[in-house]
Point group: C2
Chain length 422, copies 2
């Protein structure tokens, strides 16, 4: 767990931490492995809904479905998500399966199908196993509880090694507001299991336009800043529901309450995004890149993302090699105008380059620093985001700052992605 | 060797195939290995010079030097290139070393230093070993010969396994015109050995503006369409000299002669680019992506490049896995508007996806096809570009067509790039 911030505190409960949310997850038999593969998140009342989707031109049916629903009305009661099959490249039949998912869930939950959002993750080009999915929805609904977040977090995974879950609580005018979230791995995407999903819940009362704007900005600083192998998926989706059950004053425009809520939403998204990067396929460490000194935050984020996604930087980190030349090279090709004589590069606390000039540094010490950042993959090892490889880059005196996260490129990445046979 | 085309024939001699060019290469002691590391290409007379450089904001001194020279006058007599040290991130001292390279070569060749272009490749952040370099220029000049192309091609290599050389001859108005070229590897860039270099010579008489336009377009279709790991270098440079010694009519504007020359220049660039992709670090096969049906050629090239650079596609090919989902996914995220129901994907002769729908295909046959495309790395094996893995993608009915080349992502790529220690 990250350290608590004075503005908010970490609380248990994931997506069921906010008031009025329940969740469940079970094995419906969609995955050959028998692992959990069907998740449901429900708000007791209609929640304001916002979403951000993959920018890919090849999109799964569920993405188009959610987009169509939320374009008509920015509210929802539930999210139904299956893993095992992505329902992408499945044509008209895929669309019909998406509709069936929503209508079946609506029937069981006794609500309108326009109140159901759906998501899928798994093998591209395969139809969802609809019979077992439909047959298991009543049981799934029966298992809904305010303790069900972990079961749901488990059921949305594909090749992830660990579940990703986080929740924070803050006070607005003396009353608590909570945001919770779960996510599944992406980035180093498994063979065809190409999806980053995150579902976020909140009990504040927020106007739909503002909630969507907050989510879009939070995603730009979090999920859009993680990179595992540069491949964007057909199914990537972030959905955020906020149901007003905190009974705090409605947040309808800019102000301290809106700022506080957005900061906390961003923090939840960043935590989940880092969890995804850390769990990238074959990853042996989490990499955090901090860029400052550019003209704009967007430029800083672009440079950070380019460094975090460079195969050369990633394989150097896997080799525990303090190779600043690759970091400088990646910064230079990020598509941002730079004066190379202003570049400073730091790895942990080791200054490798200053004013564009190589600096003498303790190679053995830097190598040892990289080794010490390795993730402990032993069963039972504490999941921690506290120990990333920190790459710090300054490119000038401008006000722009940005972060990105990634993981190293290991033999296991190639192995996982090469040895699969369709 | 590629098959001859009716328009031109393959000839030996590399950069010395065109009339009036000489070349040489030797070991000056810049590389610790003792391998050749200093190359010189000279035209008997002033040649029209064009160049294309890295787009990176972090550039080696030699790149800035050539740019400054050619901005003042688009002509040159010689190219001096060292390998071993990149002279990038070397500040003012690096600039002075670049100037010294040019002035020393000019003295020895008894010409003006403004007629000398320079290039470097090797470790970023290291000064060139100037004493041995300067000391060896007279000997290098003494070895210049019209048989010296292979020695030069050898001396510009860093981690490349093989030299890259090609030359073509065509007839314009009954007289021969020749274009030759050498190149060095890039893409799967060695630890800090980050450079793609190509030097091209021609004996046609062409106006400077037209020659630059021809080279820029040829590079867009060739060197800019190869991708090994997506990392652009600090030193990437293509220089093309044309000296008019064919004594054919000067080509000063559009017309059949210009078209013929540009087609041949493009062909030489494509051959060299493919040779670089095939020799990517750890590559076990060359991948050729053909995209058609987009609105513009630029769109088709963008899609082709995105597919060829996808880590997921590359690792699937290494695993000999006909994984069309990854190809579709890469096409979808190329930043080109697509209708996914129009996408067709072929691997060799196997149709994997049609109108956006998965097709039944012979998995074993496709797997065997991929296996059969593997490069024979045995010493003495014939270097051949004839047997790439062919990925064909149609995205609609538009006139746009484009190609890109890459190689697979193997364990050896990670090994080569992780196990280096600065």
């Amino acid at each position: 767990m990250e350290q608590d911030n004075a503005q908010w505190q970490v609380i248990p409960g994931g997506v069921t931490a906010p008031k009025g949310f329940m969740a469940a997850g079970l094995s419906a038999g969609l995955k050959a492995s028998g692992a959990p593969d069907l998740a449901l998140i429900v708000s007791e009342n209609d929640a304001i809904a916002a979403a951000v989707y993959t920018q890919s031109q090849v999109r799964a049916a569920c993405v188009d479905y959610c987009k169509q629903q939320l374009d008509e009305q920015a509210s929802a009661r539930a999210i139904l998500c299956n893993s095992g099959q992505a329902n992408a490249c499945t044509g008209q039949q895929g669309w019909e399966d998406a509709v069936t998912m929503a209508t079946t869930a609506a029937q069981v939950l006794a609500t309108n199908s326009s109140e159901i959002l759906i998501a899928s993750t798994g093998v591209i080009g395969q139809r969802i196993k609809m019979d077992p999915l439909v047959a298991h929805i009543p049981q799934l609904a029966a298992q809904l509880s305010d303790q069900g977040s972990d079961a749901a977090a488990q059921a949305i995974l594909t090749t992830d090694l660990v579940t990703k879950s986080y929740a924070l609580e803050t006070n607005v005018d003396g009353r608590p507001i909570r945001i919770g979230g779960i996510a599944k791995g992406s980035g180093m995407i498994h063979p065809n299991m190409a999806t980053m999903l995150s579902f976020i819940t909140c009990d504040a009362a927020v106007s739909p336009t503002l909630w969507q704007a907050m989510l879009s900005r939070a995603v730009d600083q979090s999920f859009n800043q993680i990179t595992v192998d540069g491949d964007t998926s057909t199914n990537d989706t972030v959905i955020a529901l906020t149901n007003g059950q905190s009974r705090t004053a409605a947040i309808t425009g800019p102000g301290p309450a809106a700022d506080q809520l957005e900061a906390m939403l961003t923090e939840v998204c960043i935590y989940l995004a880092k969890s995804i990067a850390r769990d990238g396929e074959g990853a042996t460490c989490l990499i955090e890149v901090n860029v400052s000194g550019s003209s704009t935050a967007a430029d800083a984020r672009k440079i950070a993302r380019t460094i975090a996604s460079s195969s050369l930087v990633k394989s150097a980190i896997f080799g525990r090699d303090p190779n600043w030349g690759r970091i400088a090279g990646a910064a230079g090709r990020a598509g941002v105008t730079l004066d190379q004589s202003n570049i400073m590069i730091k790895l942990g606390s080791f200054i490798l380059l200053d004013h564009g000039q190589p600096q003498p540094f303790d190679h053995q010490g830097a190598h040892a620093y990289l080794k010490a950042c390795a993730i402990d993959h032993k069963p039972g090892a504490t999941e921690s985001l506290a120990n990333p490889v920190r790459i710090t880059v300054a490119v000038g005196e401008g006000p722009g700052k940005g972060q990105a996260w990634g993981c190293d490129l290991s033999y296991d990445y190639v192995k996982i992605n090469a040895e699969y046979t369709t």
